[in-house]
Structures are given as structure tokens and as C-alpha cells.
């Protein structure tokens, strides 16, 4: 299920025309069954971008099409004696008009916020994960079945069902929060900084979980500052800067683009920088094979063997 954004612009404070747009003329196609990372410095528009994907924010102008679900805020012009000008009234009407069936969109696109564990509120893990499906009109039995399936997927077995989510570790709480979204069986899972605050093991487990979800056919879109995650898991990476998409490529191409990186706030992952140094010193490594320390060791071993 592709997501198509056409000329999307968003201003947080539309009343102040001088306010800088958080998104500016963004056009992109996010393909079905893709694993896309969204990166860029603080305030570049990443969170604003992803909140558009399930209609939590509506564009100030522009169009978003999620597999036929259309949010159309393209500008309306009126004719005047001197030509055409933006029809403010018609635009205001568009903004006021509540999007119909927005729940349909939210079912398709599950959004996991920054620190999702802060939104947990029910007294038991199972009840918390059931909340979403129930809210979408499922029966108690259907909700519980969906919740149990989602909890199994995130690696929490039935011993967790009746525990209070508040006594779990940070990583476990985040799993509960993600299960709450997965219980809605979204076709696209969008996550805002999912690894922030997790220790090394928690990060590895969570990214392993997202890989499993991806392999079962769900598209993943994640906003992150974690370049190790981008290199290891993403197939495509969009770079946002001051609300615009300034680069659209693979992680491999991006991290080799020294001219682009020099003028940005980005830094390739440690493992990649080290591999580049080895290449500069004459080791014939294939960067395409390098994702982390283990794959770099594999690649070094391969090159050393071929020399002998």
C-alpha cells in the first residue's frame, strides 16, 4: 500500500504568516513493503512528517493519498480582476471540514509516538493492548485475540497479561505500547524515535522485532537519529532539512556521499567510518556488505582470505 505525498506544506501557526513552515513542499512516494528511515537534525520536520501519515496532522496545503484514502488540502484559487489569488475562505473551509472516516486511515497506518510507554494507562498489560481494537469497535473476544497475537509478536508471553504495565522495564513497556498499535493490524507501522532511551540489548531486541514485523509484510517508516539503525535495517533513507526533503537514497549511497554529509548535521555510523578508513588504507572491502561490527569482521576475513 503506497503512500503518496504531493506538495505537502505544514505550518503550526497558520495565523502567523511569518512563521516558518515545519514542512515545505514535500513530495514523496513511500512504496508498499518498504523499510524507510527518516533522518535530519532536531526540528527538521521528521515528527511533523510522520504525523501526517495517519491524519493526526492535516497539511496546510498539499495532498496525501494512502492507498485511496485521500487528504486533499491542495490550494483553491479564485479569479480576480488581476488574475488568480488563493481563496482563503475555501481553504479555511477545507481545514475545518472534519476528515470523514479518519478511523479507516488510522487502522491502516499505526503510529507509535516518541516514548510511547508514557501513554500506557490501563491496569494490566492485556487491557492496555485491548484498548485500541475495542475503540475501533471490536468485541471483547476479538479484542483479546488481537491483543494476545500482538503481545506474542512483541515477545511478551501470557505471564505478562495480568501484570501492571507500570512495573515493567522501559524496554518491556515500549513493547506493550507497540503491541497496542499492532493489535489494530496496521498495514504500515510508523515509529518516531523508537530506540531512544533503550539500552544496547533493548535496542537490538526492538529492531529485531521490527525486522520480523517487516518480514511478515508490514511496511516500516521510522524517524530516527540512530545511524547504526539506519545502516543496519533501512532500505531507503530520506533526509529532511528545514521541512524539505534534501536527499532520497539508500543508506549506503548516503553515507558515502562525503560532500553532502560535510554540509549536513549527519555523521555516518562508527562502523561505516572505520570501514572507509580501512578502504583508504588499501583494504578492498565491499561497503555494501557492512551493516555492523560482525559483518565488518566477516568482510575483513573475506578480504584477508582472498589475499592468501
Amino acid at each position: 500500500m503506497p503512500i503518496v505525498l504531493e506538495h505537502v506544506t505544514y505550518r503550526y501557526d497558520v495565523k502567523k504568516p511569518e512563521s516558518r513552515p515545519a514542512l515545505l513542499d514535500v513530495s514523496a512516494i513511500l512504496q508498499d513493503r518498504s523499510f524507510t528511515a527518516l533522518i535530519g537534525q532536531t526540528g527538521s520536520g521528521k515528527s511533523t512528517f510522520i504525523q501526517h501519515l495517519n491524519g493526526l496532522l492535516l497539511p496546510t496545503t498539499g495532498k496525501i493519498d494512502v492507498n485511496g484514502y485521500l487528504i486533499d488540502m491542495s490550494p483553491v484559487y479564485k479569479k480576480t480582476r488581476h488574475g488568480e489569488v488563493l481563496d482563503d475562505r475555501a481553504m479555511k473551509k477545507k481545514h475545518k471540514k472534519k476528515q470523514k472516516n479518519i478511523k479507516d486511515l488510522r487502522k491502516k497506518v499505526g503510529l507509535v509516538f516518541q516514548f510511547p510507554e508514557y501513554q500506557i494507562f490501563e491496569e494490566t498489560v492485556l487491557k492496555d493492548v485491548c484498548y485500541g481494537p475495542k475503540n475501533f469497535g471490536k468485541s471483547q473476544k476479538e479484542s483479546e485475540d488481537a491483543a494476545k497475537e500482538a503481545l506474542t509478536l512483541v515477545g511478551l508471553d501470557e505471564s505478562f497479561y495480568n501484570r501492571s504495565p507500570f512495573e515493567l522495564s522501559g524496554g518491556e513497556k515500549r513493547r506493550v505500547a507497540i503491541a497496542g498499535i499492532l493489535a489494530l493490524k496496521p498495514e504500515i507501522l510508523v515509529l518516531d524515535e523508537p530506540t531512544v532511551g533503550l539500552d544496547a540489548e533493548g535496542e537490538k531486541n526492538l529492531m529485531g522485532l521490527l525486522s520480523t514485523i517487516y518480514s511478515k509484510g508490514t511496511s516500516i517508516i521510522l524517524a530516527t537519529h540512530n545511524m547504526d539503525v539506519v545502516l543496519k535495517y533501512a532500505h531507503r533513507v530520506l533526509v529532511l532539512d528545514k521541512g524539505r526533503i534534501v536527499s532520497d537514497s539508500t543508506p549506503l549511497a548516503l553515507f558515502q556521499n562525503e560532500d553532502f554529509l560535510k554540509n549536513s548535521s549527519l555523521l555516518p555510523p562508527h562502523v561505516f567510518r572505520f570501514a572507509m578508513e580501512l578502504i583508504k588504507k588499501g583494504l578492498k572491502l565491499d561497503l555494501a556488505n557492512i551493516r555492523d561490527a560482525d559483518s565488518l569482521a566477516d568482510e575483513i576475513a573475506r578480504v584477508k582470505e582472498s589475499k592468501q
Binding site: F115, E193, A301
Partner: protein, 291 residues
Amino acid sequence: MRNKQKTEELLKRDSRIPEDSAVFLDRLSFSYEEDSAKLLDDVSLDIKKGQVVSVIGHNGAGKSTMAKLIDGILEQTGGDLYLFGVRMTDQNALLLRKDVGMVFQNPDSQFIGATVKDDIAFGLENLSVDPKKMDGIILACAKEVGMEDFLERSPETLSGGQKQRVALAGMIARHPNIMILDEAGAMLDPKGKEQIRNIIREKKKRNPEITILNITHEIDEAYEADRVIVLNDGKIVLDGTPDDVFTNDKLLLSMSLDIPFTHKLVAALRKRGIDPGKINSEQELLEALCR
């Protein structure tokens, strides 16, 4: 006069605590309920004035709990806590907290003001700073963290990283003698993180007496400290210089923690039958592999 006397009494040093101590924990424990697990378990620690200490540990190890106890947000259920030799009690906690500034992991937990300016002002108002001087201080601190163009913005229009910068500005405006950073750069890009580290380094250069506790999951950042403390299940399991602590690869990995990149790569190479020999730095590894 009586008030002054009272304040002096409340802030009386305990002569048993070393003169150079900034934070002294004496068998400190904390649990939310009497019969629930201890999140901090009998921890004793002496952090000296001017020390930069990194605190690492897996999620739920007790790092943030320890920070909140030192900041007086939580009250210990066992043991004693001393700041600059003064034992923290219900009566003097507010006075002692003036010396402590903290930036939380989730900036939403500490955004109080309706605008960035109000938020930075909050801490200053609590310190009874002259309102005439306040605007100047707020602007200077916002400039330090690169948020001077956002002073009138409300929190919901800011990104997570921007909120973290505002929280940092609010802290440095108060000039605390003890700074606690609980993953204060977690939501920033690599260059933003470096900028935060530079601000802290600069503060430290200007006032070497500042004591810094930096809770982090990032090894490179932890390496910059004078001392690294590793917490596991509410207890201190390692305490030493970064070099001392980070040689314990197996122990760190067993506690779900990351190890330095060089150590990780050397271990992976050895598994594949490549032994680069004794390696002390990344540069040495680079040279060994290209030989």
C-alpha cells in the same frame, strides 16, 4: 536574622563527610512500596567536587532513580544522602535543590511554561532573580543552546530535541553546582549531541568546581568522564576510570550494555580466527588490520 540563623542550621555540614565531597550516598535505597523491589539498593558513593561522572546501566538498573533522589524529586526509603556535606531532610530539601540542575530523558516531563521563554524563566523565578535581569539571562541561555529564535513558541510546536535544548537552557540559567543529565542528548542528531557536550565542557572550563553526573547509553560519551559508574539491579557493580570499566567486556555485555566499538570489532575478528594482537586504540586496530 532569625531566618538567616534557621537557614544556617538547616544547611549545617556533617563533619564526618569529606570536605571535597559534592554528592555522598550512604547506603541509599529506594522502592515505591515497602514490599516491592528496590530500585536502588544500599548504594554508597562519594562523588567529589568538580568530578565528571558517567552513569551507565541497562533500562531499569536504577540510574534515573538515583538521579531523582539526588535532585530531591524522590525521597529515599533507606540510608542518607548528603550534598556538599549537608544531609538532605524534608526541611532542607528545597534549599539544597537550588544547587542541583537536572535535564530529564523525556523533555515533556519537565516543560512547564506556556512558551520557551516562560519555561526558562520558571527556574529563575524560583531563585528570586531580579525580573529586570531575567530577559537578558533568558536570551543568553537560549542563544547558548541555539533556541533564541523560538522564545515565543509553545511546547507543542517544538520537536523532542528542541525541547531537550530548552530544558538544558533552563538548567544552565540557574548556574547549579551539580548538573545531572539524564540522557539529555538522546533526541538530538550527532552534531546536536556534540553541541550539547561542548556547552557542558565550556561550563566546566569556566567553573571547574561544577560536578556533573551524565547518565548515558552512549559509550563514546561515557568515555569522556573522569569516572564511570555501572549500575545493575539497583547496585553499583563497577566504579572506576573509563579505561578500567570498559575493559570488563564480558561483564558489560552480560548486563545488556554496549561495549566500545574497538572492543566489539576485535572480539568479532577473533571469533573468525583473526587476532590483531594487543590493541589500545582505534588507530592501533586500523594499522594492525592494514599491515
